[in-house]
Amino acid sequence: MDLENQKRVKALAEQIGKENIVVLLGGADAEASGLIAETVIAGDPAFAGALTGVQLGLPAYHILEPEIKQEIDPAVYEANIAMMEMVLSVADIVKEVSSIRNKLLS
């Protein structure tokens, strides 16, 4: 996850309170999406950014996950997301992000 974004996310969590935040991801593949989810939940696994050793525990979902999709107006989802949903590996992304969330977020 981008170092600058790590700083912003950390500052926002401190400012707003992590219990009020949900992180939505739009990553193109399972691995990258999983790494970002891991970073905002348990800290930077690359030990490079501001979230190194910082366990924010923020709930992170990919926009393609059913829990999020069902909350969006189907017409709006169709207009903004559906085309990419057809070309991305949705099953892999959903499996990776949800398993990291289930493993790391108690």
């Binding site: 949900v22 739009g26 990553g27 999406s33 926009i63 909350e71 709006v76 207009a79």
Partner: protein, 53 residues
Amino acid sequence: MSGILKGKEVIGMLEGKKIIILGDRDGIPGGAIEACLAGRDVEVVFSTTACFV
């Protein structure tokens, strides 16, 4: 469905939340995710689109 029933309304997991959007130019850009949240009782506090070029 993940929402909880409160009165006659189904309150979703995002309602009242502050949202951080980490989009991806090669996946779903931040702006597209923001568009999906328009009109909802949520506040987007940060939205970005990663670009790995």
